[in-house]
């Protein structure tokens, strides 16, 4: 059997392979050879074979069949074997497989080997991949080695102990005594690894931390070591670009950070050395800056005095101006961490930070953006927003969504005027419209609705934006919604803020219809535009055109559009009397909690009182022009959109003042509520409904009465009082039919004198079954603020035995309790 080929030869051979397939073939051949060699238990070449296996493993090929062989190598007496064996163990073995435990005994023996390099191999392996079980078994050995005077072994034992503690934290205590003298070593390796060990212990155990602080007086010790490092002359062995052992300096600074955190005494004890390092460290190379960086982190984290903190922030400020992008990167990261606590100091570097928005590095840009948003306040909003909007224009797509959200949030908090706010939103929608988050659309709609005096300006600007570009869906959606709401303002040219544009109803409808047919519009957008067109039917005069459009979409393939169109069609036909009320102007909406990229509410360092937030309108304040004709349906003080009553000019029927029916959307159940309500609006109506019982059982019972009885049709009234508002009488009519034929198409109408207000809810049905087999019920609500005697005129229409019947009657026999 020829000797297995050598490692270097194998590497050379494999590298000549021109294709992946060729390589695979070679590997497979060699693996087969290696396998048979393993089977033969060949000690001579085991090392060579495992080494080859490790190479193939690095190329990505499976090598698990070599695991046991590694263990055999470790057990061998030859140093060469052990070296490769331990390397193989670290690369191939996995603590999830039990086979790794077979190593434990070997490692134990090697930890006590006569040759320090063998001991070193064992310590290294244990410290890199020791499992919890192995650590438990071998912790004692490691602890022993921690006390040796051999610095070569001591430093390795320290790091091995760190690993043991990470895997089995409970074992920390046993290393404590051995750790005590570590810092008195001169050897830098031991010093460095000891500091790492102490750091690990402090991080894991607050008790240890206290012990080190109070009992061992660790802080002065560390300060002394650090001082010696800085003050001592040139030491070639540990010098890096003129700085003495920067690695050790950084680790000491880090440990000081942990010790000084939330402890005044310790912080004070390290104050001087920190100042010294901060001012004296050479900054021309990365090494010096690495130390400065760690110093800054420490200063910011401990209880340092303000002078030191300012020093730290200024270092970061200088970092921002450094040519080295890595330095700028860490500066921005650190500033982001400190912006909350040292806001004013960071503000001073605002312009430098804003400049970083133009950096070429993506990570730097992102940090600069986050930091910029954190620094925005009422004083600098205009300037900052200009920069941020410019950034939004030119930044990569991955930033646009977050930037847009940030702009919206900042604008909401600090907008100096409503007009500025609307303009800013417009700018975001037009430049980054496709990237805004989904919940931006309803939030914006709410904002626009609540800025009453800006409606004309807003709709005009949005209309103009639509003329330019219909590809950005959020923009198109908000615009359609606004045009649907405020289209009347648009065509009447009422804008105060800027030159009003001349636009006709047809032009507006052209635009909206264009959205419906455009390929660029998503189904959601189409829904918005169809609804907008529908709403214009009460604001424009070109109703016929609108009717036509709506009826076309009644057969649309898109189910959502179809349903809307069908319902709107119904609004034109059967429920035409409800259309104006349903399509009225939206009322002021209650602001829901906004969620943007930063949840933190902060004052952002403003010295003067912040701009009063005019966005939060108190719950029940209504704009003056809507104040008069209000019927608070559910009577409560909680969050209700109030439905305004309008009095459209309807031909007065013979019966006198006939008020419109106000469809209470949630109660009727017949017609779906107008889909123009933005998606995110919470279910106010239903909430109110559940908390406010319509029928109040606790009021004194009012006797029922017969209001009408003629030709077999009997109508009875039953009464309840609406609880919170005693001025409202709630009457339920019960219509029954004693004849042998049904009364179909039954409609009950009522009118009341001027001082009253009436609301008629939907009837249960419009067929009064014959022979008292059922009844039609309907609820009437009467508002009687002046407490006058209740009188009512009723009009009944129905079809009986094929012929239409109509009747009028007066109802005067209301019991006194119903109106007093």
């Amino acid at each position: 059997m020829p000797a297995p080929i050598r490692l270097r030869e194998l590497i050379r051979t494999i590298r000549t392979a021109r294709t992946q397939a060729e390589e695979r073939e070679m590997i497979q051949k060699e693996c087969a050879a290696i396998r048979s060699s393993f089977r033969e238990e060949d000690n001579t070449y085991r090392c060579r074979n495992v080494a080859k296996l490790l190479y193939m493993h690095m190329l990505g090929y499976p090598a698990h069949f070599g695991q046991l062989e590694c263990l055999k190598l470790i057990a061998s007496q030859k140093f060469t074997d052990k070296r490769i064996g331990y390397l193989g163990a670290m690369l191939l073995l996995d603590e999830r497989q039990d086979v790794h435990l077979l190593m434990t005994n070997c490692i134990k023996n090697d930890l006590n080997h006569s040759t320090q390099y063998v001991q070193g191999l064992a310590l290294c392996t244990l410290g890199c991949m020791g499992s919890s079980e192995m650590c438990r078994d071998l912790a004692g050995e490691v602890e022993k080695l921690l006390k040796t005077s051999n610095s070569y072994l001591r430093k390795k034992a320290a790091l091995c102990a760190v690993h043991v503690i990470r895997k089995v934290p409970e074992l920390m205590e046993m290393f404590l005594p051995a750790t005590k003298n570590l810092l008195s070593e001169k050897n830098h390796g031991v010093l460095h690894t000891s500091v790492v060990l102490l750091t690990e212990m402090c991080e894991r155990s607050p008790d240890m931390l206290l012990h080190f602080r109070k009992v061992w007086l660790l802080v002065p010790q560390l300060v002394r070591i650090l001082k010696n490092l800085i003050m001592s002359g040139y030491s070639p062995e540990h010098d890096v670009s003129g700085i003495s052992d920067p690695f050790l300096q950084v680790r000491i600074l880090r440990l000081l950070r942990i010790l000084g955190r939330s402890d005044d005494d310790s912080s004070e004890a390290m104050n001087d050395i920190l100042a010294q390092v901060a001012t004296n460290t050479e900054t021309s190379k990365n090494v010096g800056n690495a130390i400065l960086y760690e110093t800054v982190l420490t200063i910011m984290d401990i209880k340092s005095e303000s002078g030191l903190r300012v020093l730290a922030i200024n270092i970061l400020g200088r970092f921002l101006l450094n040519n080295d992008k890595n330095i700028r990167y860490v500066a921005l990261t650190s500033l982001l961490k400190t912006v909350q606590t040292d806001h004013n100091a960071v503000q001073r570097h605002r312009s430098t930070i804003v400049d970083c928005l133009k950096d070429l590095d993506v990570s730097i840009k992102r940090r600069a953006m986050e930091l910029s948003f954190a620094l925005v306040n009422g004083n600098n909003i205009r300037g900052m927003m200009k920069e941020l909007l410019y950034f939004l224009d030119s930044c990569d797509p991955e930033f646009k969504a977050d930037c847009a959200s940030g702009v919206f949030l900042a604008a909401e908090k600090y907008a100096p005027s409503k007009r500025w706010h609307i303009d800013t939103i417009m700018r975001v929608l037009t430049t980054a419209g496709s990237y805004v988050r989904d919940d931006s659309v309803p939030n914006l709609i709410q904002l626009i609705t609540n800025s009453v005096e800006m409606h004309a300006y807003t709709v005009q600007r949005l209309y103009k934006a639509l003329l330019d570009d219909i590809s950005q869906q959020p923009l198109v959606q908000v615009s359609s919604w606004c045009i649907g709401e405020y289209g009347d303002l648009l065509v009447s040219g009422q804008c105060e803020e800027e030159e009003p544009i001349q636009v006709t109803e047809d032009e507006v409808l052209d635009v909206l219809e264009g959205l419906l047919v455009s390929n660029l519009s998503t189904p959601v957008t189409r829904g918005y535009s169809l609804t907008a067109i529908m709403k214009l039917s009460t604001r424009f005069s070109s109703v016929n055109r609108i009717k036509k459009v709506v009826s076309i979409y009644g057969s649309s393939i898109d189910v959502e559009l179809q349903q809307r169109a069908v319902e709107y069609n119904a609004l034109f036909k059967k429920y035409d009397h409800m259309r104006p009320a349903l399509l009225e102007r939206m009322p002021i909406m209650e602001k829901t909690a906004s969620n943007g990229p930063t949840e933190i509410m902060q004052t952002n360092g403003e010295t003067e009182p912040s701009v009063p937030d005019t966005k939060h309108l108190p719950l029940v304040t209504q704009p003056a022009n809507q104040a008069n004709d209000l019927l608070d349906l559910l009577g409560g003080n909680d969050v209700m959109p109030v439905i305004q009553t309008t009095l459209p000019t309807k031909p007065a029927s013979a019966g006198g003042e006939l008020l419109d029916l106000l469809g209470d959307l949630s109660l009727s159940g017949g017609l779906a509520p107008a889909p123009s309500v933005p998606v995110s609006q919470p279910p106010f109506l239903l909430d109110g409904l559940s908390s406010q019982p319509l029928f109040n059982d606790t009021s004194a019972a009012i006797p029922p009465m017969t209001a009408y009885s003629k030709n077999g049709l009997k109508i009875e009234f039953t009464f309840e009082r609406a609880n919170p508002n005693p001025n409202i009488a709630v009457i339920t009519i019960h219509a029954t039919n004693t004849t042998e034929a049904d009364m179909t198409e039954f409609v009950f109408q009522a009118a009341v004198p001027k001082t009253f207000q009436l609301q008629l809810l939907s009837p249960s049905s419009n067929i009064v079954p014959a022979l008292n087999q059922g009844s039609v019920t309907q609820v009437i609500r009467v508002l009687n603020p002046q407490k006058q005697q209740l009188r009512m005129r009723v009009k009944l229409t129905y079809t009986h035995k094929g012929s239409p019947v109509q009747d009028l009657a007066e109802v005067n026999n209301f019991p006194p309790q119903s109106w007093q």
């Binding site: 270097r8 190479y55 990505g60 410290g127 390795k156 690695f247 090494v287 760690e294």
Partner: protein
């Protein structure tokens, strides 16, 4: 602590991988593939740091090799660059003007040097001289064994 270190070429060939946390083989492969893609896509003007998953990645290119380390949130990125540089210096001193081929053909030695420099992701010794001396002595030990037992060369 350092979670892992990778060395790979511009063509995406892995030359060394050292993991300091227990990770499944499958996951290692996935992470290596992903990270290589991310780092190789970076342009020269970009910083040496990036965020990846919940880790900070520090990488530096030396000739045809990328040295890539993953460190934790509280670790100092700037000093990690120095750690990488120190490792390159050690390789350079050992091999004499090290190039990628040296690491390809002597990968096991590269590992030995790394294991003499770092344990568990932390520096064992901050003295270049000390680390190189230890490697030298261990090599000698290997030679002695080799000479004594077999005239065998790798």
């Amino acid at each position: 602590m350092m979670r892992f270190m990778l060395l790979f070429s511009r063509q995406g060939k892995l030359r060394l991988q050292k993991w300091y946390t227990a990770t499944a083989e499958r996951d290692k492969k996935k992470m290596v593939r992903e990270l290589m893609q991310v780092v190789l896509a970076r342009k020269p003007k970009m910083s040496s740091f990036l965020e990846w998953r919940d880790l900070k990645i520090v990488y530096k290119r030396y000739a045809s090799l990328y040295f890539c380390c993953a460190v934790e949130e509280q670790d100092n990125e700037l000093i990690t660059l120095e750690v990488i540089h120190r490792f390159v210096e050690l390789l350079d001193k050992y091999f004499g003007s090290v190039c990628e081929l040296d690491i390809i053909f002597n990968f096991e030695k590269a590992y030995f040097i790394l294991d003499e420099f770092l344990i568990g992701g932390e520096i064992q010794d901050t003295s270049k001289k000390s680390v190189l001396k230890a490697i030298e002595q261990a090599d000698l030990l290997q030679e002695v064994h080799t000479h004594t037992h077999h005239r065998e060369k790798k």
